[in-house]
């Protein structure tokens, strides 16, 4: 049963959201297994690439350059895509994007749409909006269809159903597709999905996708995938609507030589994903004859305005950061309360919410730096996490209720102590005398009253030495004279 809430406006703070997960051993086992498999595959393929660091360097430089010159490249993309027969729309907010897409579907008299997996559509919560407006949406990625039919929420941006195991998939498919004799063999389950979707690919004339890259130089759009459901949606329908974040642009076709080398290795541990499709506007006789791109801002321009946070938008959505995150690997994705979980979600989600929601996410990290180390475009996630934490704290400390908050009072006292050496030294001396009461003969403190007990409840504390370093240093200087 799924109780996850992936709307950052409604989701509980991470610390609370994580509790049901930590009590669900099956989910934790599924997540740990999946992330371990991907980690190992990635490690093997990255190791064989002798120019991996150089590719990361180039990937980072290209993405940084794009963001710094985003306006020029977007205008170029718009011009070239339009010239090639595409129609470019601009959506300032999630609401505008949903409205534009619904209007386009209404123009087509569409009552159904087939979809390629797109995180952007999850971000703007497109499916429930379209369903409420009477449009039936069929997800076509295997993981997405498991989630849609099972009424589950995604917990990962590349393998969204990694928290669900084969017997759970069997249960969902046999219930919703009416297949009583289905086994839990992944091959048979995949076959069931293939059969279920084939009819939809051939029948539904309207498709919705996201995009991995927009090429400014040519106005082309690229989608990276594995299963071929993307190719089906990009080839068979009459109308294609792609909803894409404004940051997804690349200057030239040739820049794919970097991105395609790092993306699949980072995302799924493959040298190259099975299918990458690139198309330019409309091609007579081949594929959809009506093509729309909806460029989505939804707070991205606000992220762009902050020099330290700007790098958040370099992301190419490979998910390597979550696969390697010691927090994500324990909790899975649902605790993050957003379609973007893991370290990248911890910095992206609160910023997409203008820091009004999901403020607990920058704290859902041990700052170990694994995310930065594996990021193919070198986003310094720990640096951004720290900066966002500072943001949250700076706002919190001004709130009246903080005057009575024990932690804030403690920190305020510490601030006074640490900024005046004489008070600091006096406190050390007092503390030494005070702690002596609790220090056992072996030099360890095993029990303390009140707030100190929260420490000694679980571990011992070394007693304070008779001399501080400062005192020792001063005494030594005196002796030498």
């Amino acid at each position: 049963m799924n109780t996850a809430i992936l709307d950052p406006k409604l989701a509980p703070p991470f610390r609370e959201a994580v509790l049901p997960v930590l009590r669900n051993p099956m989910l934790r086992k599924n997540v740990a297994h999946a992330t371990e498999v991907i980690q190992n595959k990635r490690a093997r393929l990255v190791a064989e690439k002798t120019d991996w660091e150089e590719l990361r360097e180039a990937g980072s430089a290209i993405r940084t350059h794009v963001l710094e010159n985003l306006g020029a490249y977007l205008l170029q993309f718009e011009e070239r895509c339009t010239a090639a027969g595409g129609v470019v729309h601009w959506a300032g907010t999630a609401d505008e994007a949903r409205q534009i897409i619904l209007d386009l579907l209404r123009q087509e008299n569409a009552t159904e749409a087939i979809k390629i997996k797109t995180m952007t559509s999850a971000e703007i919560q497109l499916n429930p909006y379209l369903e409420a407006a009477g449009v039936t949406v069929h997800e076509t990625d295997l993981a997405e269809i498991i989630l849609q039919l099972g009424k589950e929420e995604p917990s990962h941006i590349v393998v969204p159903a990694l928290h669900i195991n084969r017997s759970q998939v069997r249960e969902i498919f046999s219930r919703t597709m009416g297949l009583k004799d289905l086994s839990d063999d992944p091959k048979e389950l995949t076959g069931a999905a293939r059969h279920y979707l084939r009819e939809k690919f051939l029948r539904v004339p309207t498709a919705i996708s996201g995009a991995n890259y927009l090429i400014a130089e040519t106005g082309a759009v690229a989608v990276v995938e594995s299963e071929g459901n993307g190719r089906m949606c990009l080839t068979l329908p009459e109308t294609m609507i792609s909803v894409v974040g404004i940051e997804k642009v690349l200057p030239r076709f040739q820049d794919l030589e970097v991105m395609l080398q790092v993306l699949a290795r980072s995302a799924t541990g493959e040298r190259m994903n099975p299918y990458t499709s690139l198309w330019t506007g409309v091609t007579p006789g081949d594929g959809p004859q009506r093509f729309h791109v909806v460029l989505l801002d939804n707070e991205r321009s606000a992220i762009l305005a902050r020099p330290k946070e700007r790098q958040t938008l370099k992301c190419i959505r490979c998910a390597a950061c979550m696969n390697h995150c010691p927090v994500y690997r324990q909790t899975g994705g649902h605790a993050y309360g957003s379609c973007y979980p893991g370290p990248i979600g911890a910095i992206l989600t609160p910023q997409l919410m203008r820091m009004h929601h999901a403020e607990s996410l920058p704290f859902a990290s041990s700052l170990c730096g694994a995310c930065y180390e594996v990021c193919p475009v070198k986003i310094d996630i720990p640096a951004v996490l720290l900066d966002l934490r500072a943001d949250v704290v700076n706002r919190e400390r001004k709130q009246a209720k903080r005057a009575f908050d024990l932690m804030y009072i403690g920190l305020r006292i510490a601030n006074t102590l640490f900024s005046r050496p004489w008070i600091f030294h006096a406190t050390q001396r007092l503390g030494r005398i005070g702690l002596r009461l609790f220090t056992a003969k072996d030099g360890w403190i095993k029990w303390m009253p009140s707030i100190g007990g929260r420490w000694t409840e679980n571990r011992d504390l070394r007693g304070l030495p008779d001399q501080t370093f400062h005192e020792w240093w001063a005494a030594r200087a005196k002796e030498q004279k």
């Binding site: 084939r198 690919f201 089906m232 076709f253 040298r271 190259m272 081949d286 594929g287 606000a302």
Partner: protein, 218 residues
Amino acid sequence: MNATVQSRQRILDRIRTATASVAKPAPELRDAYAALPRPYIRRGKKTVEERIELLVERLREYDAEVVETTPDGLPAAIAAQLGASGKHTFVAPAGLDPGFLVGGFDWKIDYDLTTAQIELTEGVVTAASCDIADSGTIVLHHTASEGRRVITLLPDWHLCILRRSQVVETLPEYFDRFETSPALVTWISGPSATADIEMTRIKGVHGPRFLHVILVRD
């Protein structure tokens, strides 16, 4: 419509303000782009033979069947592959060399086949534009001999005919060969696959489940 025009201006204004201190003025943008560091490997160091060997190894890792032949032996090689497939009805792009349409099989030439007609065929035979040994990637630009995208998608069985001179070692070598982007490109690295259920790799979700390659000496 009016709303998106307003949004467009608002978004572009916000981007302009956000990047005011770092954006390059138009005349300098090209140079700034050209100056981006590209320290990665462009050209591979393998000999032609080693390159082909690597490609064959990669394709076989994807469970693709690979055979090599001479230009004279090609029709016989095609006939052997088609014969061994156990299939009878094949679709071919309109620009495929007529010499490749070997006898004894039911050929549907894609002059404008409907989706339903293509769905009824069992296999497809095409050329390709390039092949990248490093990742075992076949690149289709959907030229006349490679066909529309749909014909290499619906049939379950794909035979791809490649010339050895079309094989490059690294991905950047491909981009050096085709500096300007074709309107349509499909990069195919092995048959369609998924690992969405417990990370178990399953071959053949929606695209062709069987990939065969004939490498022709030239």
